[in-house]
Assembly symmetry: D2
Homo-oligomer: 281 residues x 4
């Protein structure tokens, strides 16, 4: 059992009536339970939690009046990671993939896997299928990119990153997802909080569908996978922006934290590829 305190403070200067959609609340699923959660909006505005979809993404929506606006979100989460001996984790044949998983083989806005069929085939096609092949994709991504804050932007795609060889966590995830899909392994983007991430920020990682479950991966090696707290799940970062703004408002602060209460010892080391974390049904 692993208890983690996470949260964020977002501040805006709202110029004219603006609708915000926040994707900052932690997901509730069998691998992650919330023991405590609060959201404060100052000054007070009514905030609506949109209906939760099949992926468990929880959107908070509010329309704010002009002026300063502060959102404080806090949650205490218990992670019940299902550690698995990854040597047994195989890929699922295309013939046997569930229909709702097939979507995650399709290319998406930032993951042009359709352009990378030959590339992925040549780099990863000869590897033994299974968990270790996704690990190889992560290692390859780590080896070929340099983590450079500010080097990419909201329009940057996996193919851009492959050319320029630099990016941030979302770019690492997009590139690895693209390679997985091009190899026939369903993969999707996960946003979340991550303990021991320096500097603290929202994190982007991904999961691959293997052996009938989704397994978490992170090609950046910036934080232990066992300390990830899921916020949102989607095809790529386009689906899980932490804030979508319709109106005229400027961000003035984004502070994110994620502290482990205790027992970080049990967290999986990012370099330890022998044990997989199955974290979504």
């Amino acid at each position: 059992m692993n208890q983690i305190h996470v949260g964020c403070r977002l501040r805006y200067t709202v110029q004219s009536e603006t609708t915000f959609l926040f994707n900052i609340s932690v997901t509730q699923n069998t691998f992650q339970s919330t023991t405590n959660e609060s959201i404060e909006v100052s000054p007070f505005h009514k905030i609506e939690e949109c209906a939760v979809g099949p992926l468990g993404n929880r959107y908070l929506r509010m329309t704010a009046n002009p002026g300063d606006l502060t959102i404080d979100y806090r949650a205490t989460v218990e992670l019940h990671a299902n550690e698995v001996d990854s040597t047994d984790v195989c890929e699922v044949n295309y013939e046997n993939l569930p229909a709702d998983v097939l979507t995650y083989l399709n290319p998406s806005r930032y993951c042009e896997s359709d352009k990378l069929l030959r590339f992925a085939g040549e780099e990863f096609g000869q590897l033994v299928p299974g968990y270790s092949r996704v690990t190889a994709i992560c290692n390859w991504t780590f080896d070929h990119l340099t983590y450079t804050p500010g080097s990419t932007g909201p329009l940057t795609t996996a193919c851009d990153v492959l050319i320029q060889r630099t990016g941030v966590c979302r770019d690492y995830a997009h590139l690895a997802i693209s390679m997985c899909r091009a190899c026939g392994i369903p993969a999707r983007y996960v946003s979340g909080y991550a303990v021991r991430l320096q500097p603290p920020d929202f994190h982007g990682f991904f999961e691959a569908y293997l052996d009938g479950r989704w397994f978490l991966f992170d090609a950046t090696r910036l934080a232990p996978v066992g300390g990830f707290v899921r916020i949102g799940t989607g095809r790529d970062a386009a689906d899980v922006a932490f804030a979508t703004i319709r109106g005229d408002a400027q961000s003035t602060e984004v502070t994110v934290w994620s502290d482990e209460q205790q027992g970080g010892d049990h967290m999986l080391d990012p370099d330890n590829v022998q044990t997989g974390v199955s974290s979504a049904s």
Copy 2:
């Protein structure tokens, strides 16, 4: 009531064991009911209908042995189009969009709406919101593109089309979808059969979310919207390929037909923008 016979014949030469996923079966929903449907595979292979997802897409999956393969699909469909006076059809404020519709505002593989915010704002931002604004986007798309078979390929995106000003039905749909999303109107891709389409083929069109429902649109003006029979629905064409092939097989024939039994008189004319077709819940 409008009864339509649709179908297709697909032939392949299979070189080695190959898994196919077909998205050729018509959707079942309140606007479209199937009175008759058959699928024949020669030589015989077991074909599985994957579980139908929330969008109603029906995938047929089969693993074929080497040799020639023929798929014959036939259906008789009754369309119960819900004709609406489009002058009353308004856009839905971002504040009030259902959570499961928000997805269709996000950019996708072939619809880079995030690059087109300024473009769409300048071209369509001053228009009166509502059904007529989507019609204006369709007209603009029609006016700025030339329909040229073979001019684009599977990698072509809305932005490519905007530059090269030529494309086929899927490109028209992608460009119009992108402009809608950039204007804040949820929009998604629809594949289907279409009566009076010359030459007969699978068709690609789109729908926009207005007034709490989805309305069909087609920027190509190649066939009457009232004669569209829906196969698949997705973010863009990446989600509804009529055939996905994993293995080694060559297509040798794609024949598509769509015949109205009677009463085509009641079909909506593509140039008639006064009456909208609400065709999905």
Copy 3:
């Protein structure tokens, strides 16, 4: 006669031995003569003027030691603009274009005119050939773009700008050049100093080949064409960067000025399209 004082101050912090190539010296040609010119390097470093090529671009090359480095360039230039009644200025038939001009019909790094043949044909193909057609391209560029400092970067191309509809002077020039080439009008990029430009900076504009000569144009309308002092000429901005740095040095200051001595009355107004400036042989 029009006398103009131009110059720039460039400062760098050089970390390790670095070679610089500067393209800041004004061109010498029949339309522009230098009455006074100086270049100061502090601390002193030997600076070499590379051989001047057929375009008259004058490159200064120097290898600097670690430390602070300041370059001060000053020149006094007399402009002998050859004003022409632009109503008489025709396009040159492809059959009659000089061989050395043909190059400026080819696409280049930032001017993908090959992608824009249909676009340009549809927008400008029906216009009367001649000076007024290039003016129409400038007006169209001005009308479709918003001048936004910082909105684009060194990788931005004409097609990017066409999609995002915003840019700076170099982007305006690239887009107009691309449209000219796609219409069969040779066009090339010019960098220079420009009087009355606010804020003062290096400027990017272009010239088109008409009636056997090159004529200056500027789609930004930010400064009078009659007050442009040419530095470099090339296919696009890739050829005339004001500073190319091989080594490890950071820019700490870029100050540019351009002051008319007198007689600015005779400068051509950017909105006055009746009089053309023929400014290169």
Copy 4:
């Protein structure tokens, strides 16, 4: 001495008056002399040889009437390759590059070297500068691409090729050129005839500036470098299209040949990287 017969037959159906610019005539320089040359146009049309530029490209221009048109070009060429022990061939420091060579460090339409600085630095930055580094770039290009006729088109760039990993001779040249430029080695595109090329066609290769001269390279290994007969030289393929057509004409035949008279034994083997061919001043 190496005597080679080269030529081509181009046929067109001209619909309306059309101007052609052909770049099919062999260059004359100290490494390549023409002993015999003829051009036949049937039916007869006057053909003009445009003035030869500094690169020695010879353009033939003609305006053809409607009807069938055949161009027959033949030349006998003696190659005086200047074989050099490539182990002695060093790179030229940026400080010492001639001004007219600097252009070939700039990115161009199909060679976006500016995007590849980090990529090239990581792959080739640690190699010993000199002829062998360009050979390493050629080998890397050969190893990472698959030669696939029809896999690319006229819009394909080096970065596209790097992603899709397949191309034809022009794509191999563009990718290798881009990597050279990104490494600080001036490089340019060469079109030509090539003996022993199967199937016979126009060939695209490149040259890199080393040790004060230009050296030929070919990353495709499809033909011996010693049997290349130069037609045109440019920044990339945009500069040396074998036929540029302004008007309405369809190509009905492109036949190319290149036969060695004798003594092919002395040709350099494409795999032999010890001996360089210096073939342009």
